[in-house]
Symmetry: C2
Subunit: 156 residues, 2 copies
Amino acid sequence: MQNAFRSIGLIARATSIMGNRLFTPKNLQANQFLYLLRILENPGITQADLATQLHVDPSTCLRAVRKLSAGGYLTREADPTNQRRKRLVPTAKAQADAAQLHGYEQALLTVGTQDFTPGERLMLQELLARVAANIEGLNDDPDRLMATVKRAPHEN
Amino acid sequence: MQNAFRSIGLIARATSIMGNRLFTPKNLQANQFLYLLRILENPGITQADLATQLHVDPSTCLRAVRKLSAGGYLTREADPTNQRRKRLVPTAKAQADAAQLHGYEQALLTVGTQDFTPGERLMLQELLARVAANIEGLNDDPDRLMATVKRAPHEN
DNA sequence: ACTTTTTAATTGCAATTGCAATAACTAATT
DNA sequence: AATTAGTTATTGCAATTGCAATTAAAAAGT
């Protein structure tokens, strides 16, 4: 049996490529659909919070959001209480695509777990959510992973 | 509960960043350690096969391998039976780092599943391996995913 | 034997990414 | 109130990525 993280990497690369190919006709490359889904579910979210949710660099988030804005999928409204914060609000165009975006996510799950029992499907989602939480915990203490790597380093 | 593929994307991005940071002191950026692990486990593997295993573009694979070669981690030996095939063979330097690379993979698993029972850990690995197989199956029939996306397209 | 098709590795290109540093604004401290 | 520290968004930069097209070699078909 393979280390679970190898499978995770494979699946992530494969689905990213498929998603980008599927949505390029709508000018939604580069995982922009991931950002759009989150904004649709959290209207008014800020870039910083979105970057945290998606585990991408704030600058990466900025550029994806900028492209979505240029494409007419969202507007960036300054928060009256805090001039720096830009609230990301989906447009009607984004709302029109929401169903297809969720349909894509659901299709991935359907095909990816096509031979699963409902119980297995639920189990997978639960276990992965826990792994994600554990990995996010490393953000607050990155050295913990290093400490867990026990073998000798063989420095150059 | 989140769609499993969201968790997969999050985990993949987070671990990729951590891995790159951990191995930059050894000049192993850009997921090169993933390639090196596979080559260590499959000495003599060709670039095409490696690209298939890792689900990356052959050109991406070429450039990662080229950097590993430049860094002294492997040699590229022409296959006598087929002039085109270049067999990738790990060097002693690569062997010396093998333990640390496996240690990193193991550490990821340890931390990522720190609150799991052994049974849950095994279950996760099995379910993910099956998902990976299902997703790879899409390579042979990419339209199947599109067909599964049922919602209306709302073309531009 | 000759042509066509497939395979393996490669290159140019445009686009995305993360990191480091910066700007602008807000909060906290003295 | 003034200075310091922290937050939010941003930009320059170097590096990686996937796609499309190219080269070279092998296999298949005629």
